[in-house]
């Protein structure tokens, strides 16, 4: 079983797909998650076993077919996908691997996807990742990794939300950070995002802090790039109250379903809210 789809039950098995993808798979049934498939740990194993760095022919065929099928589902002529690694012990309750593995955005075509997946696999051996694993008492010689290939939402607005306030630990506050364009600028911290605090119990916007957003990440034929935000919208609020409340509501529902406070990534495209990631908040205690 080398490639599984998010909506398949087998895609919820952490040992095959990693915590991140298993979480997304659980969510895909109930929430608006962009369609995607996962190259399981078995796929990684087959590649690693070959040892040459080349892909087994069968796996190439399977990947090509899956990419074509997804393009058909999305009715996209040239489907843009995001390729993200999903470690087996990532996104567990104990340690968040956020940012430790690779992400490739705006990949177009099966060939580009194969290239990106290969780089995700290879990254498990990077010194940065190994060091992180050592510090967190994780095994360094038997790394297992899965890779998610998911339709990329060309976000108009993107950001993160916490179903509990990670700063003052208030469990009745949803904290939202959003900025223009793809979420990368928010996640990587290169832009000071807008901040909204929404009360979880009655969904009222308690605070709005509108930042001067100078940079944004946008999709580009070569992947993504960070560009200047045009002057007219730098100081504009990314969310109106209705959107802030919609995101807060999503975080609240997810927390109830998961049973733990969540840290989500989400994006608006053509006024529709997409759920991109959902992880436990690891810093509340």
């Amino acid at each position: 079983m080398h490639i599984v789809w998010l909506e398949q039950p087998i895609c919820q098995e952490v040992q095959r797909v990693g915590g991140k993808v298993a979480n997304l798979s659980r969510l895909a049934a109930d929430y608006r998650v962009p369609p995607g498939f996962c190259l399981t740990t078995a796929a990684y194993g087959a590649w690693a076993e070959a040892g040459s760095g080349d892909w087994p022919a069968e796996l190439v065929r399977e990947l090509n077919a899956s990419y074509a099928k997804m393009a058909e589902r999305c009715e996209a002529e040239s489907l843009q996908v995001a390729v993200r690694s999903s470690a087996i012990d990532e996104d567990g309750q104990s340690a968040s691997f956020a940012g430790q593995y690779e992400t490739y955005l705006n990949m177009i075509g099966a060939e580009a996807v194969i290239d990106a997946v290969t780089r995700c696999w290879a990254s498990t051996r990077s010194e940065q990742v190994l060091e992180y694993r050592r510090q967190n008492d994780l095994p360094v010689d038997d790394v297992q990794i899965a890779v998610l290939v998911q339709q990329m939402v060309p976000a108009d607005i993107a950001g993160v939300a916490f179903s509990a306030n990670p700063v003052n630990k208030n469990r009745d506050e949803v904290v939202i950070n959003t900025s223009w364009g793809l979420g990368e600028s928010v996640v990587s911290g290169t832009v000071s995002p807008d901040t909204y605090v929404v009360s979880k119990s009655d969904l009222k916007v308690l605070e709005r802090e509108i930042a001067e957003k100078e940079k944004m990440t946008v999709a580009h034929p070569d992947g993504t790039r960070e560009v200047d935000v045009p002057r007219f919208m730098r100081g504009e609020s990314t969310l109106d109250d209705a959107k802030a409340i919609e995101i807060a509501q999503l975080a609240r529902v997810l927390e109830q379903q998961m049973g733990w406070p969540v840290d989500i990534e989400c994006a608006y495209h053509e006024e529709i809210l997409y759920l991109l990631q959902c992880r436990p908040i690891t810093t509340l205690d």
Partner: protein
Amino acid sequence: MADPHAGRLEPRVIPVTPEFPVRWDVPEDEHMPWQFDPMHFPNPLPRWENELWCEMANKGMSPAFAGYEMPIRARGKIFNDYNYAAMFPVVPPEEMEAQGKKAEAALGAAMASMQERWEGEWLPEIKEHLAFWDACDLAALSPEQMLAQYDATLERTMRLWHLHFEIVVPAYAAMGLFDDLYKDLFEDQGAFSAIQLLGGFDNKTLETDRALWDLSRKATDKEVRQIVTTKASSQVVAALAGSAAGQALLSALNAYLADYGQRGPSLSVYEPSLIEDPSPMIKNLQDYIGQEGGDPRERLAAQAEERETGLAKAREQLAGYPEKVRGQFEFLLQAAQVGVVLSEDHGFWIDFQSTHRVRMVMVEVGRRLAEAGVVAEASDAFHLGMAEVRDALAALPEGDLLWLVAERKADIDRHRGVQPPMQLGTDYGPPPEDPLSRAFGKFFGTPPEPSNEEGNLNGHAGSPGKIQGTAKVVGALAEAEKLQQGDILVTGTTSPAWTPLFATAGAIVTDTGGILSHCAVVAREYRIPAVVGTGAATKRISDGQVLEVDGDNGTVRIVG
């Protein structure tokens, strides 16, 4: 947020110099930021015309600004026969930003509906005013009717100038904002990348020039060509009239003037329009007859193609950008494309069609005053003020204003030699850094960086291309005779009546204007290099010098 007032200096009263004496008849006027506008009014003006342009600021600009919730108003004032205007705030400094936001919203709404309003509201009203004047047989009016016609003319003129600014403010704001946005979005672009996306649309200025070009193609008869190309421009009409073969071209020429001849050499009520003295257009006709290529339709098509290519490229680059960016790009693009056409068409309909008719009323008034001996000749009426003309009309057949006209004429002659300062009254420092001020700057031009090299002049990029040619400094359209094919036209400013010359000139260099000025817009349409707003080209350059004009970088080099 950048503080719009940051870097502004304390208000400074500008010292009055003996060369340009100013007596503050109204004390508060000394605290106003009076600005000289050499692009529109470079010369001392006869009193009536000068008062008209003052009233244009008071009753045209100000209500348009108010209509768009802008925090400023305008006033005009005459100093030593030169026309000055002041733009001054009408809300306290702490309310400027909030009022500015309201204005942005009002202008945004106006930009969205310019085309609709032009077709449904503005142009029909303009035409209604023109029809009012056309319906009147001025010579047949009784004295009372003449007085009423005079009053109605002033009232309708001011209404038209109100419309004028209601049109141009959002039109130029849209062009300026589009240029700003483009520069925010795309790095390392030349001065014209944004402007190029607004080019290649037909407008009334191009239509006027095209009709003249078509007229030149009608001069196929050998004898007719001989007459047009060898006679002095002032004698061509008479010579055509005296030739059997010339009748067809003469009637085509008259038809052209009836449609397009309502414009003078500059924006002026005082100067005769082409209908009265067609010599400047005959010069254009003579040049056109000698030209083989250069069909204006081909130029327009090439420009439209460049626009569409550039636009496809820009849209492709923006495909992955947030909707808010793409939406604003498309919104401003469309508004600016409408704006660039209206920036020419409003001039055809208001600046020229209506001003010509106002002039015709004043010519008739002058004729009556001259007939009664109140003034010596009809054109002398322009040396009286608006109220003085009304009083003189009402007092007919009595009256003697010969002395006053003589005094006024002597004043103008005396003032013609002085250099009017750019600013009078109080200097409040550079304008605030906001989108609208930037748009104004792109029209009027901002002072260029002085060139540090001897023999070089800096201005603003007006139209792309680099070319060498012989300088011809043309102060007035009547001097345009000396311009030969490929020469570089060096002038203070150009009005639409000059633009047929752009087919003859190799490049244009002006003292005034910015990248959105009329001259720059039309030079791009003619696809010749232009450097605008040099401040001093007409003073630093003399006839016969060889110049290298670099329209992309806005520089002029005196080669020899």
